[in-house]
Structure formats: C-alpha cells, structure tokens
C-alpha cells in the first residue's frame, strides 16, 4: 500500500529531505555523545537512546513512513533491543556471580582496573540501544494503525 492513499500523511519535499540528510549524522553523533557522558554529566542511555531513535523518525518524516519501515531492518532493531538488555543484565548478574550486589562494578576491578568506569559506559550504551529500539518500534506500531485503516497491516 503506498503512502499516497493516506489523507495527506506524506508530502515529498526536497527541503526536508536535504535537511534531514545533512542533520542525521550529527544527531546520531550527539546521541552517542549523550550516552557516553551519562556517567559524569547530565545525560545517559535514556536520553541518548531517545535522540538516536528520533533519527529514524526524522527519516520517516522526510522519506515517508512506509519506505522507512522497509529500509529499517527489523533484525537490527530486535538485535539492538535484546543486545542492550543482555549487556545490561549480563554486567549486573556477572557482578552477582562474583559475590557483589547487582551492578556492583567494583567487583570487576581485580580483573580490569577501570572496570567501574567502562562498566557504567557499557550499561549506558545497552540502555541506549533498548530505548532507541523501543522508541522506533512504538513509532512504527502506532503509525501502522493510522496508515492502514483497514486493519490488515501490522508493524
């Protein structure tokens, strides 16, 4: 089903497409910056993840929701979400296996001297992945309802 059937859902505009193409890499970089700086400045996985997810929404505004849906690989989104969860839970449960509490980073320090710092960074990245993929998934899920009024389309 092409997006043209919708009641003015998508309007092709050279200005928007060009702007999005220029801005997208910077937004993605900014998202990573926010994620990496979560430990010592305001920011973190949640905020960074939302910014990263917004890149896909920007693309959807510029190029149409349906074409973006086809372009974004479902497997990448799924891998981001479950990979993020597994990184987060793995680091947390690993600390418990080493005799600490959940997410107690300093039990890793005998093995690697900067474990606390990089442990937090990894967890932030994991959370960022989860949040970004959930935001993208939610966007497509809600958009599906508006695009396909007949109800035969999902995701």
């Amino acid at each position: 089903m092409s997006a043209d059937d919708g009641p003015g859902l998508y309007v092709e505009s050279t200005i928007i497409m060009t702007t999005v193409r220029v801005v997208a890499p910077f937004v993605l970089t900014f998202a990573l910056f926010i994620m990496f700086h979560g430990a010592d400045t305001p920011g973190g996985g949640f905020q960074g993840g939302v910014i990263a997810g917004s890149v896909v929404m920007m693309l959807a505004f510029a190029y149409g929701i349906d074409s973006t849906r086809q372009w974004v690989d479902v497997r990448v989104v799924a891998a981001l979400a479950s990979g993020g969860v597994l990184v987060f839970a793995g680091i947390g449960l690993g600390a418990m296996a080493l005799g600490g509490n959940f997410l107690q980073y300093n039990v890793y320090e005998p093995y690697y001297y900067e474990a606390s710092k990089y442990g937090i960074e990894l967890v932030e990245l994991g959370i960022g992945g989860i949040v970004a993929s959930v935001a993208i998934g939610l966007f497509f899920l809600i958009a599906a309802g508006f695009g396909h009024v007949t109800g035969e389309g999902e995701r």
């Binding site: 949640f46 497997r75 799924a78 891998a79 979400a81 479950s82 993020g84 969860v85 597994l86 987060f88 839970a89 947390g92 449960l93 600390a95 418990m96 600490g100 509490n101 959940f102 997410l103 107690q104 980073y105 300093n106 959930v134 998934g137 939610l138 899920l141 809600i142 958009a143 599906a144 309802g145 508006f146 396909h148 009024v149 109800g151 999902e154 995701r155």
Partner: protein, 520 residues
C-alpha cells in the same frame, strides 16, 4: 542467591522480554512458551520472597552496593509483597488466556514481559526517581500493547494514552525535582525524614506533593484525569485489556500509597489537612462520576472501564483515610479489584467470541447461550458490587469501618452510595443476561432496536457476528473458538473473587507488622 531476590524479580522478566525478539529471527510462535517459563520462574522467586517477608520482615537491597541514601534501594514489605504476588498470579492467568486467544506474535510476549518488568520495578523500588523510570517502562510497554490491536481505533487509543500518560509521568518527575531540591535526596526513607525536618508547610514540599500525587492520579485514572482509560481498555485485544485493566492502574495506585505512607507519611496528612481533603474529594468525585458514566455506557467494555475509575476512587479514598483498618481495606480492594476486573474483561472477551456481541443491548438473553461465561461474569459482577462472601465486600467494609472510625462522614455517605451505584450498572447487565429476550438470533443476525446510541459498536458487532461460527459443535473456526484454558482462567478468577476472602487476615497481619505508622 536468597538475598538478591528483589533485584532478580526485576531482571528476570526483562531478560525474558529480550529472548522472543531474538527468537523471532527463527520462529514467530515461541513467545508464549518463553513467557510462561519466565513467569513460572518469577512465581517461584515471588514465593521465596514471600517466605522471607512473612510474617514481619522488611527486605531491603542496595543495587550496585552503593551506600544507601545515595544508591538505589529496593524495599519489599507487606504491601509490595501483596502486589508482587498479584502481578505473578494475574500474568500467569493472562498467559493461559492468551494461549489460544492471542495475539500470538513474539513481540506481544516481549512487550508483556517488559510490562511485568516495569510493574515489578515500581512495586519493589525504594527510590522516587527509580519509580519514575519504572513508571515510564510500564507506560511504554502498555502503549505498545494497546497499539497491538488490529483496528485503527487501537492506534488512536494508544496515541491518546501515550500523550496523557506522558503528561502524567512528567508531572510526577517535576514533583520529584521539587522534592530533590528541598531535601537533596531521592531515597524514600531518607526523604521522608528530611521532608519532616524542612517542615510540611513549606511551599516546595506542598508543590512536590501536589505534582507527584497529580501525576500518579493520571496513571491511576481518577476522574477527571481518566480520559485515556476507557479507549485504551475497550480498543485493545481482549488479552491486553484483561491484563492492563487488572495491573497497570493497580500498581500506580500502589505507588500513590507508597508515596503517601513512606515518603510524605501520615504526619504530613495530619499536618496539612488540606492535602488529605483534596485527595478525599478527588477520590469521592471519582467514585460518583465514574459510576454515573458507567451507567450511561452502551458498550460493556467501556462500562467496565468507567467502573474502574469509580473503584480506584474507592481505593484512593481508603488510603487517604489512612487509619490502619482503612488501609487494609484499600489494599484488599486493590487486589480484589484486579482479580475481578481482569476476570470481567476476560469474560467479555469470551462472550464476544461466542456470541459476537459487545453491547449491553446485545447481552440480552445470552445467559442461556454461554452459561459458563455469563455465570462467571455474574459472580464477578456481584463480587464487585460487594455481596458478602466475595472479596469486594471485605475491602469496602474495611474502608467503610475506617471512615466511620475517623469520623469522616462525607466519605461514609459516598462509600454507601457507591455500592448502590455499582449495583445500578451491574444489575442492569445481569437483568439483560438472564431475564431479557435475545436480540441476536442463533444464526447470528442482529435484530434492530436496543441501544441505538452507539452506532460504531453495533456495526462492529453485526460485522463480526455475520461471520459463520460454530456454537461449540465442530469447534474448528480457530480465530473465534473459546478454549478450555480461557474458560478455566475465568472460573479461577470467579473462585478467587470469593476464596481470597480467606487470605484477608494474613494480609492484615502482614500490613500491620510491616507498614510505616498510620493514623491511629
């Protein structure tokens, strides 16, 4: 292992949620099994936790081993334990229902487990900011679940839910900001001491209270902040409406109680009578307005949704009265309402599958067509009204006794009136089910007449009932058939609605031993 139980309860479902996503690269039908395995393990952990808390222990856990007022603390006392056990039982019930009723996609079960993560986190956390994080996780998962309905109306309902829910969560976050500014801490226990030191009449403290309670009231769906709720309940798939109607508002109401008793404490409520009265007034208005709106609905699911607005008013009124007996009553009603409302939504799902009807007019004469579902529906409805052996009676009775003891006569009047109002809308439905002539023929043709006010619902009912369906004969129309699992869930819910009464003394003992001091 045993001391890590609180955090394992949160981590287990989130790991479970990530597995179906990976698995969907290979098969799209494994989500249910993974969810069941996860929830069985969850139930085992919840049981172990109950063993630890019973009869008078408060379990505390420092995430990351950070020293306590600074790190995130998880706390499990009698109240949170009751909610954790409820989450465990309801989720298993919904899974048994969804086995046949669907949705069958892996992503549905991922979202379901993510919702369980959020709800559990809200229940066990002892940190006001952490509560916000889990509130958002709960919200995101719930929006996604509502949007998984097939009709366009589900997406609209999800979008409305998303916007209003986000406003509510933001209000709560703003309140947390004020509380942090005035106390410098986010830990609930630490914050309650520092709020007392600052003085309860400080403008900052009052603002924080107003924003946090206001934000949570949106999530609980108290009148007039309930507008997201009927659409979300009525437009999502039946498994989803049973699940979110039973748990999402329930856990938010729990969070509100946690805030009242563990953060602001009853000293705040006695020092600032205006705050207590504000809560009581909102709750009372909610009881009356919710019932009045429920009476005027044509669709059964919307009626049940408005009934929730009214019943949560009752629960919050109980918490605001804040005497020990009223709090026990509110907790009993919180748990009882979850079981009964989940069961009622499951019953509407089954009745819709068997007869194709969703409106009160269409329920006419269906008592004979679907005896088991209609019977269970009636038992649950009577329980909700508060007919004595059922759990609904005990909850309301305790809240009433608490209000009488506290000499809050307006509350007593509203409580008594609410029972009559609840009877008003459920009795109408019972009368339709058993004493009215069917308006829908065996063949599935819709007779005209009946409620004409809800054109869309009628049209939908006639669309789905014009499809060929077998009345339990050859049972091979996969999509609309009713499985034994679905009926079993319904029967268990109806039995629980009565049997839970036996657990009330245990809950009462648990709450008296572990809750912070209440108004005597």
């Amino acid at each position: 292992m045993i001391e890590h139980l609180p955090v394992l309860l949160v981590v287990l479902p989130i790991i479970g949620a990530s597995v179906p996503l990976v698995a969907s690269l290979y098969t799209d039908r494994i989500g249910w099994s993974i969810a069941v395995l996860t929830m069985l393990a969850y139930a085992a952990l919840a049981g172990l936790l109950a063993q630890q808390v019973w009869p008078d222990t408060v379990v505390s856990y420092a995430v990351g081993g950070f020293a306590l007022p600074y790190g995130i603390e998880l706390v499990v006392d009698g109240l949170s334990l009751a909610v954790v056990l409820l989450i465990s039982a309801i989720t298993l019930g919904v899974l048994a229902y969804a086995r046949h009723a669907g949705p069958h996609e892996n992503t549905f079960y991922s979202q379901l487990l993510l919702l369980v993560t959020g709800l559990t986190g809200m229940t066990v956390t002892g940190d006001v900011f952490n509560l916000y994080v889990f509130l958002e996780i709960t919200g995101l998962a719930a929006y996604g679940l509502v949007a998984s309905g097939r009709e366009a109306s589900a997406a609209v309902a999800a979008l409305k839910y998303l916007i209003i829910g986000t406003v509510g969560a933001s209000l709560y976050l703003l309140g947390v900001g004020y509380a942090l500014a005035v106390t410098g801490t986010l830990n609930m226990a630490d914050m309650s001491g520092k709020l007392a030191a600052v003085g309860y009449d400080s403008t900052l403290v009052l603002t924080a209270f107003g924003l946090m309670v206001g934000g949570l009231s949106v999530k609980v769906a108290l009148f007039p902040l309930h507008t997201w709720q009927p659409d979300a309940y009525a437009n999502s798939p039946d498994s989803v409406s049973a699940f979110i109607s039973a748990l999402v508002s329930t856990v938010s109401a729990y969070a509100l109680a946690r805030l009242l008793f563990s953060v602001f404490t009853v000293d705040f409520l006695t020092a600032v009578p205006a705050a207590r009265w504000a809560l009581i007034v909102v709750a009372s208005v909610s009881i009356v307005a919710g019932s009045a709106l429920a009476v005027s609905q044509a669709s059964v699911q919307r009626m049940l949704a408005y009934s929730s607005v009214s019943q949560f008013g009752l629960v919050i009124a109980g918490f605001a009265v804040a005497t020990p007996i009223a709090v026990v009553g509110a907790t009993v009603h919180l748990v009882g309402h979850a079981v009964m409302k989940g069961g009622l939504f499951a019953a509407t799902g089954i009745i819709e599958r068997e007869t194709g009807t969703t409106t009160i007019g269409g329920y006419a004469g269906m008592g004979g067509r679907t005896p088991l579902a209609a019977g269970a529906f009636t038992v649950l409805a009577l329980g909700m009204v508060g007919v004595p052996p059922a759990i609904g009676f005990v909850g309301k009775w305790y809240i009433l006794v608490g209000a009488v003891e506290a000499e809050l006569w307006p509350v007593v009047a509203v409580l008594l009136a609410s029972t009559l109002l609840t009877l008003a809308y459920f009795a109408r439905l019972g009368e339709r089910l058993y004493f009215a002539e069917p308006t829908i023929r065996e063949e599935g043709a819709i007779a005209d007449g009946g409620e004409g006010s809800d054109g869309g619902e009628r049209a939908e009912g006639s669309r789905s009932s014009s499809e060929p369906r077998s009345e339990g004969g050859d049972g091979d129309d996969g999509e609309n058939a009713v499985s034994t699992g679905m009926l079993a869930v319904l029967v268990v819910a109806a039995v629980l609605a009565v049997a839970l009464t036996a657990a009330v003394p245990a809950l009462e003992q648990l709450l008296t031993e572990t809750l912070p001091p209440l108004i005597q």
